[in-house]
């Protein structure tokens, strides 16, 4: 994976990994996105915040192929792309952790990591009888979890439902990180979690960024956003109201921009 990327320090010319230009999405007469642009640079955590109905979810869906924008352009590493399905975004290395986790509770950790892209054993046993490489997938799952610093979750044969909320989220994030070669999108990853579990997930987000993988984080939780984000994209009424940094603005400022009480 892309190990050492440029630090998001700002001055030098950097190629955004993911770019959106003037995305418009309407639902009947309701305008979901009204010309939104966004840049995601290597090795940064970009948070997207906004009130309900501000267009956060629609924006994310357009970026991950869950919705097709009416107009506007998307670029991955400078190349124009058109996502029609979530699979299209996946092919381009964009992995999403959905709010409802999208893990299968009764399947074990390794099966969940490889769900939908199982690997088969080599040779005729795999190609003709389609036998799964269970051992190999378990080994790789363990390696991936170790890489993410969840090395104590050694038993990848445990059903996911036996794990705590934070650990499940870790499994979902690990899956995204394992296959997302370019971008990981996390939709409200801490919404259902307690304090300690939230911290575990936020630490995972930092670890991903430190490995050079940019992260888009959607959250309602201001302290979490200001904790991990490098830049914050504020959506308001279908538009990008401002893009700020935790250094340039306070939480109060952000909330004011979000609600329209102030401009950046």
């Amino acid at each position: 994976m892309t190990a050492s990327q440029l630090e998001p320090t700002g001055t030098e010319v950097r190629q955004p990994i993911l770019q959106a230009r003037n995305l418009v999405k309407t639902f009947g007469r309701v305008v979901g996105l009204d010309g939104v642009s966004l840049d995601l640079y290597p090795g940064e955590v970009l948070a997207i915040i906004g009130d309900n109905g501000a267009g956060k979810s629609t924006l994310i869906k357009c970026l991950t192929g869950a919705e097709v924008p009416d107009s506007g352009e998307l670029f991955v590493s400078g190349q124009p792309v058109h996502f029609k399905r979530p699979q299209d975004a996946r092919v381009h290395g964009i992995e999403t952790v959905y709010q409802n986790l999208a893990v299968s509770p009764a399947l074990d950790v390794a099966s969940n990591l490889f769900l939908g892209r199982e690997e088969r054993v080599a040779g005729p046993l795999g190609s003709i009888f389609r036998v799964l490489d269970t051992k190999g997938m378990r080994r790789k799952a363990k390696e991936e979890l170790t890489r993410l610093g969840i090395s104590t979750l050694q038993d990848v044969t445990v059903p996911v439902e036996n794990l705590s909320g934070g650990q499940r989220q870790a499994v979902a994030v690990a899956r995204a990180a394992a296959f997302g070669s370019k971008v990981v999108v996390l939709d409200e990853p801490t919404a259902a979690l307690g304090v300690r579990e939230s911290n575990q997930v936020l630490q995972l987000v930092r670890d991903l960024r430190d490995r050079g993988l940019p992260v888009i984080l959607i959250s309602h939780n201001m302290p979490h956003v200001f904790d991990v984000a490098d830049r914050i994209h504020i959506q308001r009424l279908g538009k990008c109201a401002a893009t700020i940094t935790p250094q340039s603005h306070t939480m109060t400022d952000a909330v004011a921009i979000m609600t329209g009480a102030a401009t950046a």
């Binding site: 999208a102 299968s104 009764a106 399947l107 939908g116 036998v131 904790d227």
Partner: protein, 349 residues
């Protein structure tokens, strides 16, 4: 990255945190639960073992090889239907039409071979097509119209029964009139002192095949994932409707094989046979530890479930008890099995 030190446990503490949390959950009771959860066939295996020992002590004849062979023959038809039922129930569905599909298929096979004079292999192939078509209809209604499987198969159950009676005019085709291949599944061959029926061997081979597919292939894993959490499976990139459709088709094919076994076992094809077979198949699946909520269970558990029902019926009648007590015992077993399933599902934190 100045915010790194302000929040969250330090990097070193994080690993122990997760470990601690993980190990905390390993109390003795939850360990038993985890074992049952991972190996859903453990509890029915224990029940079967205890039942065999108890009935063996109650009556000398029970453990004789001829009697054990008889039990396997008695469960062979329900055993096959229960494979199809397991596949459907693993996807959180239920199939009330399994018995009706099997009877329809068996009538088509018998009529084509006897009344229309088609060669036996062609008749069997037609039976397979009937099974697949019935599965396709159920699958189509479940996936395209998003109707609950219970309702769909309740409807098709009645449709298939009516079609069977219309097609056969209510007449039974006797086995003596059929080509040998159709009743071959009822033939027996000696293995040492005991005679094994071909139908039982076919049933066991089918169990091995389906267990392999469910346990070792991506398709099998997707069946579990779809039954476990449909939305999660979809978001993980699984084509949920394709999986569901293929499950109903596979069940239809299994039922066609069941029709062949049924013809051999009863040495006839009767439109009135086995209307209650659908309930027996559900009973076997449930006693075998497969969850009616989907995503959990195995065909081996189902085989054990079918054997448990067979052993109870046979053992109780050998012990000289009225047939009503067999029904009573099966009822108690079902409720126990579902209670255990509920308890296992409480693993969730």
């Amino acid at each position: 990255m100045t915010q790194q030190q302000t929040a969250g446990p330090p990097a070193a503490g994080k690993q122990t945190d997760l470990a601690e949390e993980f190990l905390d959950r390993r109390t003795p009771l939850s360990r038993i639960r985890n074992i049952l959860h991972r190996y859903p066939a453990v509890s029915p295996a224990l029940v079967l073992l205890i039942a065999v020992i108890v009935f063996g002590l109650l009556n000398d004849r029970f453990l004789r090889v001829e009697n054990l062979s008889l039990i396997t023959q008695q469960v062979s038809v329900v055993g096959i239907l229960a494979i199809a039922q397991t596949l459907i129930i693993l996807t959180a569905g239920i199939d009330l039409s399994v018995g009706a599909v099997m009877i329809l298929s068996s009538m088509v096979v018998a009529q084509l071979a006897v009344n229309n004079g088609l060669p036996a292999p062609v008749a069997l192939l037609a039976g397979l097509i009937v099974g697949l078509a019935a599965g396709a209809l159920n699958g189509f209604l479940v996936t395209r119209f998003r109707l609950p499987p219970f309702i769909v198969t309740l409807g098709t159950l009645n449709i298939f029964i009516a079609v069977t009676l219309l097609y056969s005019n209510g007449a039974t085709v006797r086995g003596s009139a059929m080509p040998g291949l159709l009743t071959w599944t009822g033939s027996t061959f000696p293995v040492g002192p005991v005679r094994i029926s071909t139908g039982v061997v076919v049933m066991l081979l089918l169990y091995i095949a389906i267990a392999f597919i469910l346990g070792k292939t991506a398709w099998g894993r997707h069946v579990y994932a779809v039954g476990d959490d449909k939305e999660a499976a979809r978001l993980a990139g699984i084509a949920v409707n394709k999986v569901l459709m293929s499950v109903y088709l596979a069940a239809g094919a299994v039922l066609a094989i069941g029709a062949w076994i049924q013809i051999g076992r009863t040495n006839a094809a009767s439109p009135n046979a086995g209307v209650d077979l659908n309930l027996d198949s559900i009973t076997a699946v449930v006693i075998g530890g497969t969850s009616l909520f989907g995503g959990r269970g195995s065909v081996w558990g189902t085989l054990l479930g079918a054997l448990i029902v067979g052993v109870f019926r046979n053992g109780l009648s050998l012990a000289g008890l009225d047939v009503l007590y067999q029904t009573l015992a099966v009822g108690v077993l079902i409720i126990l099995a579902v209670s255990i399933d509920q308890w296992i599902r409480k693993v969730k934190s």
